[in-house]
Symmetry: C2
Subunit: 143 residues, 2 copies
DNA sequence: TATTGTTATACTCTATAACTATA
DNA sequence: TATAGTTATAGAGTATAACAATA
């Protein structure tokens, strides 16, 4: 057990399961709702407060160029504000507007409604497995 | 235990962990490699053989229009072939070309190299948790 | 020189809606 | 009428590369 072949199979299973459930999340998204990338930024700002562009792009593992474009969209929609860091003129300090804060909270709540309905059908043991797995996946994702 | 609040937290944790590890997969992808959607189609065809467009779009939970475009890209690249179903002239039968078969196998192997390296560092118990969790996530994804 | 951020360009992936062809 | 598939259009999300401003 725990041999080469078995570990390899687990990698395949896990990779496939994650891709499928992620696509399922995406397909559950209603028209007009924010996309994954935009929402992720709002939630990071909601949890951690003011962040720079580099911090945001590191958090989501995208390039600074990609994140700059996501941020521009959010600013256009009035959900975030940018201001220069007076202590370091290269940095932009990014924070939620009141409307962005409202959307972040609402989106996060709505986002989990579907998931929670399904988790409620699992046993306590199964939920415990998923809770542990979430922590392990975080470890993998964060290196 | 298993109360309303705890289940809700688990939904949030799991949702976030899945989004993060999925983005990590994407960021590990080398330039020139196939994207997630295209690769998913190749792997479905590799596992299940000839499929119709509707079957493929159902598998990945995308619209027929989206899948048609993905298929067109793959056909242009010479990785899949389309032919009319003689028994039902509306249907297109989609299958891998030899080159597509080669790419599907190679991509799948390469895709898991990084994941397997990380899984090898986990304990047998932790891998067991992830294996169980993969099955549970499949259940959620597949409804 | 190094870091921070923006912009231009291009590609993948997706949806919706209008369409054709077949059943 | 219903189903299978395509195409046009639009938008999100991403990368790379060239760039400007600041440290």
């Amino acid at each position: 057990m725990g041999g080469e072949q078995e570990v390899s199979e687990l990698g395949a299973e896990l990779r496939t399961a994650i891709a499928r459930i992620y696509r399922r999340f995406r397909s559950e998204r209603a028209a007009g709702e924010l996309g994954e990338a935009a929402l992720s930024v709002l939630i990071s700002l909601h949890k951690q407060g003011t962040l720079t562009l580099t911090e945001l792009s590191d958090l989501d593992r995208v390039t600074a160029g990609s994140m700059s474009q996501t941020i521009t969209r959010l600013a256009t929609d009035g959900l975030i504000q940018r201001r220069r860091d007076t202590a370091d003129g290269r940095r932009m300090l990014i924070e939620l507007t009141p409307e962005g804060e409202r959307i972040a909270i609402a989106a996060r709540a709505h986002q989990h409604t579907w998931m929670n309905a399904r988790l409620a059908e699992f046993s306590d043991d199964e939920r415990a497995v998923l809770r542990e797995a979430a922590a392990l996946m975080r470890r993998v994702a964060d290196d």
